[in-house]
C-alpha cells in the first residue's frame, strides 16, 4: 500500500459514453491498490450518483428484473465507497453544485458531497496524479 492520491475530473452522464465505465474502473483500481481518490463530477457526471436510478427488465432478451440485473451507476459507485472503507482509504466524491442545481439532480446516494471547482483545484494541489476525462 503506497497511499498516494489521484484526482479525477469526470463529465459524462450515465449510459451515454464509455468514459463513465472507464473512470469507475480507474477508481476501482486505485482504491484496490490502497490509493485515495478525489472525484470531481462536473456537468452530466453528477447524475452518476442519483438515488432514484431504477433497474429494468429486458423484454427483448426475455429477462425479468432479477435475471437482467441491470447496472446502475449509483450501485457501482456505492460499491466503490464500500471498497474504500474496506481498504482504509478515502474516496472523496464531489458533485459540482451548480451542475446539480441546473439538472435538478440533488437526490444522491450516501457518500458524495456538494462542492465547487475550487475543491478540484485544491485536490490537484494535494494529489500525486491528476486525470481529466472530458466529454465530447
Amino acid at each position: 500500500m503506497t497511499g498516494k492520491t489521484l484526482a479525477l475530473a469526470i463529465m459524462d452522464s450515465p449510459y451515454e459514453s464509455a468514459n463513465s465505465t472507464t473512470a469507475l474502473r480507474i477508481i476501482h483500481s486505485a482504491l484496490s491498490q490502497g490509493h485515495n481518490v478525489m472525484v470531481f463530477a462536473y456537468e452530466g457526471a453528477v447524475n452518476l450518483t442519483m438515488k432514484d436510478q431504477k433497474p429494468h427488465a429486458n423484454s427483448v432478451k426475455g429477462t425479468n428484473l432479477e435475471e437482467e440485473n441491470h447496472p446502475l451507476t449509483k450501485d457501482w459507485i456505492a460499491a466503490l465507497f464500500k471498497l474504500a472503507e474496506e481498504k482504509g482509504v478515502t474516496l472523496d466524491w464531489v458533485n459540482c453544485g451548480l451542475c446539480v442545481d441546473e439538472r435538478g439532480a440533488g437526490n444522491w446516494i450516501e457518500g458524495p458531497r456538494r462542492g465547487a471547482p475550487k475543491d478540484f483545484l485544491e485536490a490537484v494541489k494535494n494529489s500525486d496524479g491528476t486525470l481529466v476525462i472530458p466529454t465530447r
Binding site: T22, R25, S29
Partner: protein
Amino acid sequence: MAHYLILESRDPYDSGDWQNMQQIALDLQSRGNSVTLFLVQNGVIPARKGDRHSGRFAELKQLGITILADDFALKERAIESLAEGVNSANMDRLVELCLQSDTKAMWH
C-alpha cells in the same frame, strides 16, 4: 523532462484528430520527454493485427513511444492478436503511470 501519459480513446475511423494527437505525442517525445500512449475504449480498435492503421503503432514504437492497450477493451472487442508495437496492460498499470511523480496525463 516529464512523462506524458496520453490516453487515446479515439480511433482513426471516428476521429480526424487521431493523427494530430500522435504528432503532438511525437513532438513531446522528441523534446526529451518519455511518452506512453495508452489505448482505451475504441482507441484499441486499430491495435488489432491486420487493421489498416495498425502499422502506425510499430512506427511510433520505433520512434520511442510506449504503446499500451487496455486489456478489458481488447477482450471486449475480441482483439486477440495485437499489432506490432502494442502491449496489453491493465487498469492497475494505468493507475501506476498516472501516479508516477513526473506524469502529465492527457485524455484524448
